[in-house]
Symmetry: C2
Subunit: 402 residues, 2 copies
């Protein structure tokens, strides 16, 4: 019997977000829009140790509102670890005793990587809407270059869910030699029209907020550091609009079943209906959504939300490469695709499209539709289920002759 606990002590599990500058000087990034851009600072964290042969690195692509802080604690006083901590660590699904795990904040984000809330070196003011238009391809180009700077020729795997899964797919097609395996969770080759519709309403909530000021709201918007060491986006800006966008998006991340199970029609304040129109949080589900909205605006930047949801809308692997099959014909990696039976934002039918095209393109492909009540959020929650797949898949990949 071991005396260590399953949850390592925080003091032994401390991580720091680091930063690297890319695309500086003449080496600007050529964006999909045709525009050049640089420099780009990339915020990143690593967990575990890179092997001497530099062949055990796994890159995590985070989803829409994620960040580089995927695991561990920034400080012994932190109440919560990184966002995928249950999956990343010694003996976990992504075992840091075996693998060197990297996570970096995306281009256009607001947690350390250059984005619209960053200072434009040319003006000394935040970019705001002068930040260039970005695509999922641009997000991937930045992280691909970052991996080259780390002197890692080939990643063992790139892993991501939702917008992270889109990055995985794009990366496998755009830089095929840079990974041995691609793990795409709860994602798709394009966002559905319904998904675009929800994004459109979220963006409208932000742009219609009078405090949006066409994206130049940063004058009262100083970045500080929050409790967990992440950048805090607090004062000023379209807070109502951003909270509203988050409330709406949050509904799409849950399944009807999980909302029904967790909240149903239960009341927040008592067991009596108030018959009061001004009570905005009468039902528990309302209170929960308002809480999600309020929390979100502390950590996220409204302009980043606009840019990154638009990048999701634009993502369309089939359109870009002629067809999905033609896209995947460029890939070299083996693929693990998962979907979740209650995910209605990225339904299983969209993963099945991926699998069909991968098979047509003769790619080594494993697909599982996993069962979970948690809807789209399942890939963040059902970590044990995921670990059961990832552990043998990664081990198998590692043992395969290159």
């Amino acid at each position: 019997m071991s005396v260590t606990t399953a949850e390592p002590a925080r003091a032994t599990n401390l991580v720091t977000t680091r930063s690297i500058e890319l695309f500086s000087g003449e080496n600007q990034l050529l964006l999909d829009s045709g525009r050049h851009f640089g420099p780009v600072h990339v915020a990143y964290e690593t967990y575990g140790t890179l092997s001497p042969s530099r062949d055990n690195a796994i890159f995590i692509c985070h989803a829409l509102t994620g960040d580089a802080h995927a695991a561990g604690f920034h400080d012994v006083t932190d109440r919560k670890p990184g966002w995928w901590d249950a999956l990343i660590g010694p003996g976990r699904g992504l075992d840091t005793n075996r693998y060197f795990v990297i996570c970096a904040n995306v281009l256009g984000g607001c947690q350390g990587t250059t984005g619209p809330s960053s200072i434009d070196p040319e003006t000394g003011r935040p970019y705001g809407l002068r930040f260039p238009f970005i695509t999922v391809g641009d997000l991937v180009s930045v992280h691909s270059e970052f991996v080259r700077q780390l002197e890692i020729d080939q990643l063992l795997a790139v892993v991501g869910g939702s917008l992270g899964g889109m990055q995985v797919l794009e990366w496998a097609v755009r830089f095929p030699h840079q990974m041995r395996a691609a793990v795409c969770l709860a994602s798709a080759a394009n966002l559905s029209a319904q998904g675009i519709a929800f994004n459109a309403v979220g963006r409208r909530a932000i742009s219609a907020d009078p405090n949006f000021q066409n994206g130049d709201y940063y004058v009262h918007h100083e970045k500080t550091f929050g409790e967990n060491g992440c950048i805090k986006h607090g004062e000023g800006g379209p807070r109502y609009g951003l909270a509203l966008a988050r409330m709406l998006a949050h509904i799409t991340y849950l399944s009807e079943m999980s909302i029904e199970k967790k909240f149903g029609r239960r009341l927040q304040h008592s067991d009596q209906l108030a018959y009061d129109l001004q009570r905005e949080t009468e039902f528990q589900i309302e209170s929960y959504l308002h809480h999600q909205g309020s929390r979100f605006i502390e950590r996220f930047d409204a302009n980043s939300y606009l840019y990154l949801t638009r990048a999701m809308d634009y993502f369309d692997l089939a359109a870009r490469y002629g067809s999905l099959e033609l896209a995947f014909a460029r890939a070299q990696a083996r693929f693990l695709i998962t979907s979740y039976n209650t995910d209605w934002l990225f339904p299983s039918t969209q993963s099945e499209e991926l699998v069909t095209a991968l098979l047509r393109a003769s790619r080594d492909t494993t697909y599982l539709e996993l069962e979970s009540v948690y809807g789209h959020d399942s890939f963040l929650i059902e970590v044990d289920q995921l670990a059961e797949l990832l552990v043998p898949f990664l081990e198998q990949t590692r043992q395969m002759v290159r």
Copy 2:
């Protein structure tokens, strides 16, 4: 062969919205909240002729944003007829050669029946949020009294979809002797938690709009008459918030399949992506939603939206009467229930709950899950399919011995 067209000439199909005052003086309405309220003006229209024995009347309960103008034209210059015109008229599903069809705007509405935008006789100003809290039961109490004022002892049928279907169910339970048949389309005994969640976000969009001013925005909000003779709610008020609420709600009325079929990822302005964040309507689905939002604010009042969505949230037939079976044990009517296979706001499972409880309560019950790509909106669109059911069901009801 007939020389008349299927669409009768507008000049022969003119209707007028009339108004009746109820609950005046001492005869105030006792609301479910315990408060008394009056007077209530009810805006209504009728189509067809009441039979001498007054036994051929069918009452239409409209949905959330509907009104009394269900059929015909207000003026020969109107471009569009009433909202259910395809179902109501000579030879149609609700055949005005046989039936006397009545439709009335609901309590709390904004198309002629007393609601928050009406003048409070005590203050001479619009009620705003001083309008009393109302329930689906209160909506039904008003229309039930209105039918008594018309000296109709028993309606042949009460018909409605969505919030209209909730009124049908409540009416059948609350005033069982007042109808021979209840037709409940795309509805449920309660709104799902997910439905409450969407309503909560829509209400928040309105209340967070700085022009909401706690409901007292009417100072620049003069009612006029729009092109089709309906009341126009134009200037002032939380227009951004109300449009946003409508855009969101509209997504829930469509099926994923219908959005995909109608819009997919097609672009609005050209066949080239603009790579421009400030283009808010790049995809056709975005343009469509923005258009829906803009149109809606011309005809609807934001306070009415708050009151009526809250009434939907509160509706819970099982909670009110102990159980659904106990609720329906009070009913006398025969029931026709329909759901639509692509309706995810009021899914078929919720109609099946109704049917199970109706059967347990020994009610004469017909249920059909209809196929349609149009999601929740199907009951408004798939009129021929509905007519095929309604024509024999109503005829059968009429021929049954009372």
